[in-house]
Every structure is written in C-alpha cells, then in structure tokens.
C-alpha cells in the first residue's frame, strides 16, 4: 500500500507536442493518500483512461514523474509496480477454476502452497466466493467474474492500489448497486487504495472519497464529493457533477454591482473589472437542489411559473420559467403536489449562489 504522487505528470501521444492541444493529458500535480478511494471522472476522450494507463504502466508518460511512496516508478514496468486492475470486461483465466484464478498471482511470485491456500481462503470469504471456489471460472456471471479479477489483486499483500476501469459497465443494473457497495466494504475492511475510472457522476460521487474531474486532457477540479457539489470551480464541473446540472443565470454589470432582472440577488462587481467591460461573462450558478420553492405571496427573491414537472420517483425535477424568460430547474420532493402553470416564489440561501466570471468560480466574492 502506498501514497501515490503525480508530479507534473502529462502525456502527449505525439513525439514533439507543439502546444496545449497536443496533450492527451496536460501536466498535473496530484497526491493520493493511502487507503482512500478515488475516482477519475469525465466524458469519453477526457484523458482519464490515459491517466489510468500511466499509473498502471501501460503508457510511459512523456512528461513528469509518478511516485509510489516517494519512489520514482515512472519507468518501472507494469509487473513490478505492485498494482492490481479490474477491467471493463471481466478478465479471467478461462481454463482455471476460481480457486486457481485467485492463486495464480501468488504462484507467479513463488509463494509456498500453504501460504497460498490461506490467502485464497481469506479472500474468497471476503468476496463471498467460497461456494464457487471449485467451479470453472468461465461459468460464473459477469459480476462474479469482476469479483475474481478484484480477488486476484486482493490476494497479494504487496498491492499499492487497485485500479478499476469502468468495472460496472457490463453488470446488470440491479447488480450494480450491490457490487458498488461490496467495493466500498472491501476498501473499508482492507484499507486498500482504489482508483475508479468512470463517466458516471453518480457512481463517482457514491464511490469515492475524492474525485478528479477531467475534460479535454485537463484536470478541472479535484476534491471531495461535497466540494465538487457545493463549490464547483468552473461551469464544466457545475454541469458535470449533479443531475440536473447547475443552473447558470447571466448577470448584467451595472452601477457597481452585478444583478439580473430575473432574480433579485446582487453580487458586488469585482473591483478589477471596469464597468462596461463586454469581454467578461458574469454568471450566477445555483444548484437545482438549493432552490427552495415557497408560496408566491411570501417573501422571495423572484417568481417562477412551472412549465414542466418530471417525476423521478421519490424526487422530482420542476422546470420554472421566470418572468424574464430565464428557465431554471429545481429539485424537490413536493413535486406530486404541484401542477403545471402554478407560480411559486423562489428562495436561495446566499451562500449557495455562486459567482462565475467567464466560467470560473470567483471565490473572493462568494
């Protein structure tokens, strides 16, 4: 087990990168602590797979260093890196039984049979695979095969981290929930660092202690799920984390402050920006979860009429049209009591209305 440090780590598939655009992964500094769970999150082509391949040793990075417990492993081959990996499609040794699959990594390392037997038994119990130990591995279902892949990592005592490359893709939806819980429990019980690659923000949010949000090869923000949710550093993170995405309402600079007709909520104009500067775009970001709908007569910062109600089960998403035509979404559990055309007052706690200048969170003013 180890601390993992990415030191100015970047990668370009071109031998001679000219500019930013030539990097599949733009240089980044990150530190991952031992024993925690991490998620690399982003749309396809964002560089998350490149980052994973660099950590696993499949791709040698063109820039920077990778450290495991302060040891430079940048040019160490995969087999010597002490990592384990679970792939999108289950990888098992099809000619072997479950027991032989689990024992394989230890056999390769020349461990004594008695020690192997003991480790395999321990891991099988942890994974609830005891009953299947003597079955041919190829006969198991996809989620059980994924557990075997995981188990081949867990039997080893030298593993620094387990990499999970979209491991839930081929799992039946109803099994996903269970497998995700199992992964968390194993992390708790073994203290093994886990790194999950995914495009699914809800999967990342529920799995990871810390999430790295990526886009176009650039790390957009890295932080706890709570930070990403309540303080998205830019409009992309606001969009990518949370469903529905963060509402972005454009503000007009006038008379020394930023405001909009739509909502009676002003922000002080940043001193450095002269009035009338048309280059910058000012936006207020509000999470749909943070919009409180109250009776239209009561005290509020604005009014909206319901133009759409989506039932999502326990929760619902309500789309509101403000008098100026601005459309925002609110998440509520009272959707069943609402009807189209109703008008509500809107309240937002001041700390939940964030100012973005040209898409970047302006932290000093919030």
């Amino acid at each position: 087990m180890a601390k993992i440090v990415l030191e100015n780590l970047g990668h370009s598939y071109l031998s001679n990168p000219k500019g930013e655009h030539d990097f599949a992964l733009k240089p980044v500094n990150l530190t991952w602590e031992d024993g925690k769970t991490y998620a690399l999150l982003g749309p396809s082509g964002c560089g998350k797979t490149t980052m994973l391949n660099i950590i696993s040793g499949l791709v040698p990075p063109s820039h920077g260093r990778l450290l495991f417990d302060d040891q430079d492993v940048t040019s160490v081959p995969t087999s010597a890196r002490n990592i384990a990996q679970v792939f999108q499609f289950p990888v098992i040794y099809s000619t072997k039984t479950v027991r032989q699959n689990l024992a394989f990594p230890l056999e390769c390392r020349g461990m004594t049979p008695s020690k192997i037997k003991q480790r395999v038994a321990e891991v099988a119990t942890l994974l609830d695979l005891d009953y299947a130990l003597d079955m041919p591995a190829r006969k198991l279902s996809a989620d059980q095969k994924q557990l075997i892949s995981l188990g081949r990592g867990l039997v080893r005592e030298d593993v620094s981290a387990i990499l999970l490359d979209e491991p839930l893709t081929v799992i039946d939806p109803q099994m996903k929930f269970m497998l995700r819980r199992k992964l968390r429990e194993i992390n708790r019980q073994t203290g093994m660092t886990m790194i999950l690659v995914t495009h699914d923000q809800s999967e990342a949010m529920s799995f990871a202690d810390e999430i790295v949000v990526m886009k176009d090869g650039l790390v957009q923000q890295s932080g706890t799920p709570e930070e990403l949710f309540s303080q998205p550093q830019n409009d992309f993170v606001g969009y990518f984390i949370g469903s529905p995405p963060m509402n972005m309402i454009t503000l007009e600079p006038n008379l020394g402050s930023l405001s909009t007709e739509a909502i009676n909520l002003t922000k002080p104009l940043p001193a450095a920006m002269p009035v009338g500067n048309n280059v910058s775009i000012y936006q207020m970001g509000i999470r749909p979860e943070h919009i409180v709908m109250v009776d239209k007569e009561s005290d509020s910062i604005g009014k909206g009429t319901i133009i759409k109600i989506e039932h999502l089960g326990v929760d619902g998403v309500v789309t509101l049209k403000l008098p100026t035509g601005v459309i925002i979404k609110a998440k509520t559990r009272k959707h069943t009591e609402m009807t189209l055309g109703d008008t509500f007052g809107i309240r937002v706690c001041k700390k939940n209305a964030l100012l973005y200048i040209d898409g970047t969170l302006s932290s000093s003013l919030n």
């Binding site: 696993s56 081959p77 990996q85 999108q88 990888v91 390769c108």
Partner: protein, 288 residues
C-alpha cells in the same frame, strides 16, 4: 419470405449437388462391379470388391503411412506456424516484408514446387548434398532410400503448408484483446506462463479450426508424392490417394478402386470427426 431464403441457398446447393451427386452415386454403383481393363461396364458382383479391400495389405499400409505423414507434418506445421506468428506478431523490424515472405509458399503450386524440390534433393547434382558435403556429411540418398524419401516429402509439406497455419494463427493473434495480457503482467506472469494461460486458451478455437482444416487437406496428399517420389522407392511414400490412383487410373481397376475410395472416405470422415471432438474437449473444455 419462403422464396427469398431459397434464393440465397438453392443456387449453390443445387450446383454442388448436381456436380457431386452423380459422381458419388456412380462411384457407389461402380464399387459393386468388376469394371476393369478386360471387362468394361457395369455388371454386379456384390460386395466382393469390399472383401478384397479388407485383405489388401498394401492399402492398409498406405493408410498407416498417410496417418503418420499427416499427423507428423500437421504437428510440425502447427508448431512452426505458431512460433512464426508469435515471432512477427509484435512489431519487428521488416515485419511486413517477413509476413509476405512467410505467406508465399502456400501460394505456390505444389506440383510445380515439387519439380524444383526434386532438383534440390537430387543426389549428385542438387544443392542439399553439395552443402552437406561441405560439412562432411553425405551423400544422403534423399529420394532413393525409404527414410530419405519420407523425410523429403515431410520437408516439402512443411515448407508448403506451414504458411497456411501461420496465416490463420497470425490473423487470430492480431485480433486478440489487450486486457488479458495486461492482467497477466499485473499478476506477475512471465512470458511462459502468459503464453500458456492467456494466449493458448484464447487461441484454442482457431487452433482447432486450423488443425482440422490442415488434417483434411493433408489427408489428400498426392501431388507432391506423385512428382517427388512417385510413391517410391518401392511403396515407401505411397499414400492412400496415390495407391487408389494407381489401382484406378494406372491399372484401370475401376470397380476395385471405387470400393477403395469409398472405404477410404468413410474412414476419413469417421476419424476426422473423432479428432475434431477430441480437440474440442481437450482444448476448449466443451462437454458436448
């Protein structure tokens, strides 16, 4: 629906049946006749041709020889073909060129190449013995001794058909997924273990297909033998097909050769089916 599905299948099926069915039925009929040089035409002599087949030692010996030859040559082709495919699978300098080069022998006409091989193996004027003599070996009676002739045929077969194995196996290798290899590297498996635990099992279906196809083709071997050794010396390299050819088209014992052909065909179908089943069971672990 009915008509369109038949549009696809029927032309080929009818053509094949039309071309094959008459000869096959005719062969069955002829096998019950005594058609030969002296008595041409279809009479009926019952199963006496078949009785004769079972007492024909030369036929059974040729079958034994054929089995030995096919099994040895196909095993060699498979092993060498797999080794070659593995060697040029990953990037090698001049890989493209090597691949084309390794494919060429299967594109060449067996009888034509056998003509060349005959000159190569020529005992006094051929280059093989010339080169061997430089090492103080020989002269080796390549085509005039029983063992020499058998080995010559084997060498030519391996030269000609290893590329076919190479082709099928390399085509299989390039389409293998990457993940199992990364998993094996992570598990700490070395080259040897990776081959036996990952490559070989993944290649099992292709292996079976390739072995069966080659065994089928190898069992028909005749062109090479005809040109290279004419089945000799004596009957040392006489294969079943060649023996049937001698009986049928040289001695003109049409009736008897028809019976030989059919016995041979039945044996081939049965043994190839058994081999296919065995391979499936041992390599894929299929239970049915």
């Amino acid at each position: 629906m009915l008509s369109s599905k038949h549009f696809f299948l029927l032309p080929a099926l009818l053509t094949l049946v039309a071309i094959i069915l008459f000869p096959l039925l005719f062969t069955v009929r002829v096998s019950f006749s005594s058609w030969d040089v002296f008595q041409s035409g279809l009479d009926f002599i019952g199963g006496s041709n078949y009785v004769r087949v079972f007492a024909d030692d030369r036929f059974w010996q040729s079958l034994q020889r054929l089995s030995l030859l096919s099994i040895i040559s196909v095993s060699l082709q498979y092993t060498l073909g797999f080794a070659l495919a593995l060697a040029v699978w990953k990037q090698v300098r001049g890989g493209r060129l090597l691949r084309v080069l390794f494919l060429i022998p299967m594109m060449t006409t067996p009888v034509v190449m056998s003509v060349i091989w005959r000159t190569v193996f020529h005992e006094s004027l051929g280059p093989v013995n010339d080169i061997l003599s430089a090492f103080g070996v020989g002269p080796v009676p390549w085509l005039s001794s029983a063992t020499g002739a058998f080995i010559s045929v084997l060498i030519v077969e391996v030269w000609q058909w290893t590329p076919f194995m190479f082709l099928l196996l390399l085509a299989g290798l390039v389409s293998l997924p990457k993940e199992p290899y990364l998993a094996a590297a992570i598990d700490g498996a070395g080259t040897w273990r990776t081959f036996w635990q990952v490559t070989f099992p993944l290649m099992a279906p292709i292996t079976i297909g390739a072995l069966i196809i080659r065994l089928i083709e190898a069992s028909k071997i005749m062109d090479t033998v005809y040109v290279l050794t004419s089945g000799g010396p004596g009957t040392a390299t006489e294969t079943s097909s060649y023996y049937i050819y001698i009986r049928g088209l040289r001695d003109f014992q049409i009736g008897y050769s028809a019976a030989l052909s059919l016995v041979y065909l039945v044996i081939m179908i049965i043994s190839l089916t058994i081999i296919a089943k065995l391979l499936l069971r041992t390599l894929v672990g299929k239970d049915e």
